[in-house]
Amino acid sequence: MVNVIWVGLILIAIIYSFLTGQIDTINNGILTHATSGVNLILEMMPLIVLWTGIMKIAEKSGLLQVFAKVLNPLLRRLFPSLPKDHLALGYIASNIGANMLGLGSAATPFGLKAMAELQKDNPKKDTATEAMITFLVLNTGGVTLIPTTVIALRLMYNSANPTEIIITSILATAVSSISGLVLDYFIRRRRRL
């Protein structure tokens, strides 16, 4: 599926540029954007290494399992296929917590660790499990309670009330996440019948 999108983006970009005579732009783009990707990786690397290090301490001390227990009523319903003490649940709980607080830079490493833990019990390594998809839907819905970046930008542009959009953002994000999770739930149920 990602495959199709990747091919689509590149085909549209190159053919449309040819048709509209922007050959220089696309030529430059192709030659420079690998660097943009590497720059993004270099930006993420220290955060990923730092947070996976810190979270390893939480994993060994049993704190991660405590997080999972706190969110258990929610997680049990969302991930019925996982046993209650699955290590991935601790990382999923941390990921949800970080996302809610608007700490995207910490949320990504937690999410990647959660996927790695889920992959450990995946019988078919090249195929997504139900739990992985539910986690992904939860994540792409972006359950953000405090959109920190948006508020910071509004503040920079002298907004009279930078935080007034918190409530509208929470409502919109709730609609997005809930509709994703509901659709995911029905697909899972239909596949089991």
Partner: protein
């Protein structure tokens, strides 16, 4: 509010370390072990990130979205949706940086407290970059058969974006 968001991370780190020491975990060695796993993780996601950044960026360079919107303009004028917001709504699932840049432009042109400024703020907060997150998370564990993940993710985005338009209208319209 600002203080809270600044204090969360230091407190969280402090809490993890104190809890680790209390439970007699070798804190430093655990950190190194985790950090090493983190490095391997970075190594695994590098091809995915480069592939996605490359494709998304040349797509943005081609100005295809602008061309498409020029074509659709008469229709959107008819239903009274501000055209400046549409590139942002379309790009939100593909690129977080691109939609953030458009929000920045909108704030600069119309101000953050204008109707369109508030709409842009809500749109940015309503969903995450689905295609990027999907490629990154599945790429990191080499899952290629993503089954129904993408359609469900995009459905959630669509509902979130529609909700952002409606809710902003109800609150500020």
């Amino acid at each position: 509010m600002n203080l809270i968001s600044k204090i969360v991370i230091p407190l969280f780190v402090l809490f993890i370390i104190i809890y680790g020491v209390k439970k007699h975990v070798n804190v430093y060695d655990s950190f190194l072990e985790g950090a090493k796993e983190g490095l391997v993780l970075v190594f695994h996601i590098t091809p995915t990130v480069i592939a996605m950044v490359f494709a998304v960026n040349i797509f943005l360079d081609s100005n295809f979205i602008d061309g498409l919107l020029g074509f659709l303009k008469p229709f959107f004028d008819l239903v009274n949706i501000p055209l400046d917001i549409l590139p942002m709504a379309l790009l939100r699932p593909i690129s977080g940086t691109a939609s953030l840049a458009i929000m920045n432009d909108i704030f600069a042109h119309f101000g953050p407290d204008s109707y369109i400024g508030r709409l842009a703020s809500t749109l940015q907060g309503c969903t995450d970059t689905t295609i990027y997150v999907l490629a990154l998370y599945f790429g990191s564990i080499k899952v290629v058969k993503t089954k129904y993940a993408l359609p469900v993710g995009l459905f959630a985005d669509l509902m979130g974006i529609l909700a952002a338009f409606i809710i902003t209208f109800i609150f500020f319209g």
